[in-house]
């Protein structure tokens, strides 16, 4: 089995919605510690890929393996437990919860559901709670959120909400992080800052990261490798430079120029 050595190995993934083929024969291999971007125009099926990988959607056919384990049919919770965390394109924070609590939720699966511990306020419970708070603070600090930890998530500006979402995903202690358009709606400074943070996470924790992103500046500068999806199909793969210069990609992005294509490139 070839997928043995890879962190994530996706084989011929297909997703149909009724008659529409949203993703067809998508394949991907990720090695430990890679930082890969998944790009493509609107409606290309990028988010669908993420939804499949995180268990939110069930694939029509094809399989994917995580650390050689077939996780194709896992629920989102199970997927999270094996070590895949994700963020959402249209931020899905727990709006009424504080930033800190948002991050703390991520620890739930690792730390006890111990109901009796909770009620009797045992030492173990207090310790766990303290530990959770501790770690949550660390992640908040990592994402520059220390000032905001007690704010309800809904009161935060867009950029901060994105960072909370990333902090929350990191708090599940994942091996693979799926970021769905992390820079959407951010202004250039915020984007630049985000870029630095992602680099930092990647470097510091040897995290494997897969990013879907529209902001090409970010993707081109950040990723080691890119995949381009168009109409559900893999259009191209390669280094940022290769992608930037691929005429197919340019066509997919900017449309098919009938005359004067050189004016653009």
């Amino acid at each position: 089995m070839t997928h043995k050595k890879h962190l994530l190995h996706v084989v011929d993934l297909v997703k149909r919605f009724g008659g529409l083929v949203a993703v067809s024969d998508y394949s991907l291999t990720l090695e430990q510690g890679e930082l890969v971007g998944l790009i493509g125009p609107n409606g290309a099926g990028k988010t669908t890929v993420f939804n499949l990988l995180s268990g939110v959607l069930k694939s029509s056919s094809g399989n994917f393996f995580f650390n050689s384990q077939n996780i194709t049919k896992f629920s989102p919770a199970q997927t999270a437990r094996v070590g895949i965390a994700r963020t959402f394109q249209n931020i899905r924070l727990f709006e009424d919860l504080s930033v800190l609590d948002n991050i703390k939720v991520a620890f739930h699966m690792h730390h006890g559901k111990g109901f009796l511990n909770t009620i009797f306020h045992t030492k173990k419970f207090r310790q766990t709670e303290k530990e959770i708070t501790q770690k949550a603070m660390e992640f908040a600090e990592l994402m520059n959120l220390t000032e905001l930890i007690h704010e309800p998530a809904k009161k935060l500006p867009y950029g901060d909400q994105r960072r909370v979402e990333i902090a929350r995903a990191l708090a599940t202690n994942p091996k693979l992080l799926l970021l769905d358009e992390p820079a959407a709606g951010m202004n250039p400074q915020e984007t630049a800052e985000l870029m630095r943070t992602i680099k930092e996470i990647h470097a510091k924790q040897d995290m494997t990261i897969l990013i879907v992103e529209h902001d090409m500046r970010l993707v081109m500068n950040l990723c080691q490798r890119l995949q381009v999806l168009n109409q559900g199909q893999l259009l191209a793969q390669g280094t940022p430079e290769e992608i930037q210069n691929s005429p197919e990609v340019i066509k997919a992005y900017l449309g098919s120029p009938k005359e004067n294509p050189h004016a653009i490139c």
Partner: protein, 240 residues
Amino acid sequence: MLSVENIDVYRGRTHVLRQVDIHVKHGEIIALIGANGAGKTTTLRTISGLLHPAKGKILYAAGKGKRQIEISSLPPEQIVSTGVSHCPEGRGVFSQLSVKENLLVGAYLRKDNKIEQDIQSIYEMFPILEERSTQAAGNLSGGEQMMLALGRSLMSRPKLLILDEPSLGLAPLVIETIFNKLKKINTEGVTILIVEQNAVMALELSHRAYVLETGRVTLFGRSADLTLNPEVQKAYLGGE
């Protein structure tokens, strides 16, 4: 015809548009281009009254020499009645209504007796719609749905047609058909404001264009000039 003057728009607490200023003259095709999340759709929704600007105003005149009215605080149904027709992102056909009913909804505010005639002319423009006139719109393919959405928008006999990503998820051949029709519609006197991801096609179609980036207009000018502008490519493909 349409002046969007320095509008600021919030969605919830998020400041989506900052000081957006767009002017559309009679008979023009204006393209609004930019990356995802730049605020293109928000701009359109604000113009057609689904959202209201926190600051700034939107002025509109139905025809040359007609009085300009402020539409920024009107509800969408009144804005439609002044001759603005908005074809929403994702086409938004009523999937449980038949093709013909969708067209009739497009003519909802009209009280004249030429509606049937207009439906015929839409059928002439897109013959496939006539074939499927009694089918539920939800069963149409993506391209057919787009044709239907466009036809539906024309049913109100608009002076200003607003299109949000008409090419989204469509095959190139269909896109070309649609864009050709748009050109023709424009020559018949309908002003068009189009948001498009497919920048090259949009720039090719339009007379002038605005580039939006994170809620701001960063570039605007004649489309032919913008096509040559390296900034445009950068806005899409990044790079330094």
